[in-house]
Amino acid sequence: MKRDYQTHVFTSTYTADVSGVCSALYELGGMSVLHDPSGCNSTYSTHDEPRWFDTDSLMYVSGLDEITAVMGDDAVLIRDVVAAARDLNPRFITLCGASIPHIIAFDFRGVAYLIERECGIPVLPVPTDGLKSYVSGVGLALTAWLERFADPAEFAAAPDNAVNLVGVTPLDFSINDNVRMLRAAFADAGFAVNCCMAMGDSFETMTHAFRARVNVVVSSAGRRAARWMKKQCGIPMVEGLPIGAAQTDALLGAVRATLSDGKDRAAWGEFGNTGRYTVPEGGILVIGEEVFAKSLANAINLLPAERRSGLTACPLWPDVDEGMPEEELIAAMRTARTVIADPLYRVVLRPRDGVQFIPFPHEAYSGRIFRAELPAFAGPDFSVEQLLSGR
């Protein structure tokens, strides 16, 4: 029998690639078009986009219907996008799609070319399929954007202390103080933050993304773009998040080392191991996005043993294609001593399991529900010990 990652009796789902695309490019002055019948746009704007009410960034759904899909009539989409673009004049247009364009083999590149030829505005084809997690969508979108608008030749003139923060979206960092604190953690340590991809930076700033010596991948959503940039000019990457003093030191140390020798690193030690960790019984289980979960687990393990009750923390993160298979998740959670995870995971635990649950909301999982409770975790001032105490 096939492994059942599909069935979720109790638990929620991480947001999809299409939301990742829109979230990553939200602040860059473009117009995102989601090729889909309906629904994905309201899901994104309701649950995944905390900036929606207060800004006028452009994101639309194409309203694909059955006849248009069956006939493969792409002219409808081309006409509609061109009409809107002429009214709104965005800096660029992003074309992504959900599952129906995927199964009818919609030609993203071809249609993007035709729209661009028609209206003269750059169009980025981002071939999402609505089947994968936001990590895929953010990665595809940032990469497509950089490929089109950033110049790898600028790497040669990058300042010695300049770094990029790659993979920054509200899906992982919300709109509390996290992004400011993230930047500050690097600035205070003497680094110049060249680009924060892509929150708080303008289209123009982003065009100079290659003026950095190291890409700091602060979410696995930034990994694809960082790999692409490395391929272009050799810019190395460091994976990790500054969470608490010790982990911040570890990350900054890794960045300094990479500035010096140009080797890829991870703040938790071994780089490149993205496979599953074995979850030991009776430990502290940290569930979340991969870089976050590994960073927080590392931050916990960097505490003296007595300040973490002698327990070891280990990370567990969703697969881009398969999410978090519920049966495996339940087994891991019920054998842990402590679980740190989004509050919607709490439902898995029964009183008889005797597991301490520490809520740590994650916008990409529970959307806006716990936004007000989402901690500002980025930087050296976050107290990992206090988190463990449940206060």
Binding site: P37, G39, T46, D80, A84, S99, G130, G367
Partner: protein
């Protein structure tokens, strides 16, 4: 392209569902998850790709009803392997075995992708029905790709009522079908029927699944909304129940005629001429009180609040209100109402709420404006608004008087519009 058009310059064949579509932050209208949750002791299963699941799961989580919903994700391997049926059956079986309590019914929603891959889900349901005879399985659809020919909400109301099976009819009860909200003290039909001893049943007031099943015994289904038509027609054929459509408008003669039809069906006394005169006079007084209170304050109406926004606008204009705009994406009301508005108020602004240009609209209004509905409140950026969706159980003279009371209240007291309009499924029990 402007965000609005003047009604005097418009064609009756207006439909804004063309081109790219914008989703405003206004989320009060119920979706299929909210409606499905009305079925007592039932469990919903959504079978679709991650991008589609996200909305339904978080809708449910925001309702605090995650114990009423499970999901089966469609993955790339299901598409390539062609094992959608197996995934559906295996997943449903696992859900049934894992749930702490056996549901009485399961509403299983397949999605757009199942149509395109020609999934034989009816076969799966047949197997499930044989395996679990104590559970009623019903096929439901979350397939917005079919929205122009078979929209999801009317389809769901029909499918939910397919859980009812033919039974011995009872002459002393009636069904109200297709309503998110209870039609009680603000509904003339309920007053008429209950006053004559007829028991009124509606899914939204059923406490148990067994109580819901008793709706099969009613000889007639009353509907107020267009979205209920499919269910009523289906029940006419399957269960032999009559269907009486109550027009949810503001024309007094229509209200009286519909109530006479309802009374005739049960052989009860319709409202007498004296009663009608009394109701009309009381309603006119209520309207005048509110009009005097609002004075020249502009009013804006939208289609999320009431089923007939043009007719409401006309009614208010005829009673001296300063109606300035209507937010509506398609004209579904009688041509006569449209033409009457063209004559009476050719400058009336008609806004489409999903067009691409409205995203960049300067939200706001010079001076105070009172809105009827969340969308008109949002786009006019006013905290003076009537916070209702889908008529909120109002029908007839009582309904109009209730609306006037809400309008007066809205004019006098501000509400936190920003917070309220973003709540999904207004009135469904969400925090």
């Amino acid at each position: 392209m402007k965000e609005f058009q003047r009604i005097g310059e418009m064609e009756y064949e207006y439909n804004a569902d063309i081109g790219l579509s914008y989703a405003s932050p206004v989320r009060g209208v119920w979706n299929i998850v909210h409606i499905g949750t009305l079925v007592p002791q039932a469990h919903q299963i959504y079978v679709c790709p991650t991008s589609c699941l996200r909305g339904v799961v978080l809708t449910t989580a925001e309702m605090g009803a995650m114990d009423r919903l499970s999901t089966i994700t469609v993955g790339e391997d299901n598409i390539l392997d062609g094992d959608m049926e197996e995934a559906l059956q295996r997943g449903t079986e696992r859900i049934i075995e894992a749930l702490p309590e056996r549901p009485r019914a399961m509403l299983i929603y397949t999605s757009c992708i199942h149509h395109f891959l020609a999934v034989n889900y009816q076969r799966v349901y047949r197997v499930l029905r044989e395996t679990y005879p104590d559970i009623d399985f019903i096929d439901c659809y979350m397939d917005p790709i079919m929205r122009r020919t078979a929209p999801a909400v009317p389809s769901l109301w029909r499918q939910i009522h397919r859980l009812l099976t033919p039974t011995q009819p009872r002459r002393d009860q009636a069904n109200l079908v297709g309503n998110c909200f209870r039609y009680g003290e603000n509904c003339d039909l309920t007053a008429l029927l209950t006053g004559a001893g007829v028991r009124v049943l509606d899914l939204n007031t059923c406490k148990t699944y067994d109580e819901f099943l008793t709706m099969a015994a009613s000889p007639v289904n009353f509907t107020f909304h267009r979205t209920a038509v499919s269910a009523a027609k289906d029940m006419q054929v399957r269960l032999g129940q009559a269907w009486i459509s109550m027009r949810p408008g503001y024309a007094y003669d229509e209200i009286d005629a519909d109530l006479r039809t309802a009374a005739a069906f049960f052989g009860i006394e319709p409202p007498s001429p004296e009663e009608i005169a009394h109701q009309r006079a009381e309603t006119e007084r209520a309207v005048e009180r509110t009009r005097a209170l609002l004075g020249d304050t502009p009013v804006s109406v939208d289609y999320t609040a009431v089923d007939r926004p043009l007719e409401l606008a006309l009614y208010l204009l005829e009673h001296g209100f300063a109606v300035e705009s209507v937010f509506v994406d398609v004209f579904t009301e009688d041509r006569a109402v449209f033409e009457a508005l063209q004559t009476r108020a050719p400058g009336l602004k008609i806004y489409q709420s999903l067009g691409w240009n409205i995203r960049r609209m300067e939200r706001g209004h010079p001076g105070k404006l009172v809105a009827i509905g969340q969308k008109s409140a949002y786009f006019n950026n006013t905290d003076f608004f009537v916070n209702i969706v889908e008529n909120d159980g109002m029908y007839g003279y009582r309904g109009i008087r209730r609306l006037m009371a809400l309008l007066a209240e809205a004019s006098e007291a501000e509400k936190p519009m920003r917070e309220l309009v973003q709540i999904k499924g207004w009135g469904c029990g969400c925090p």
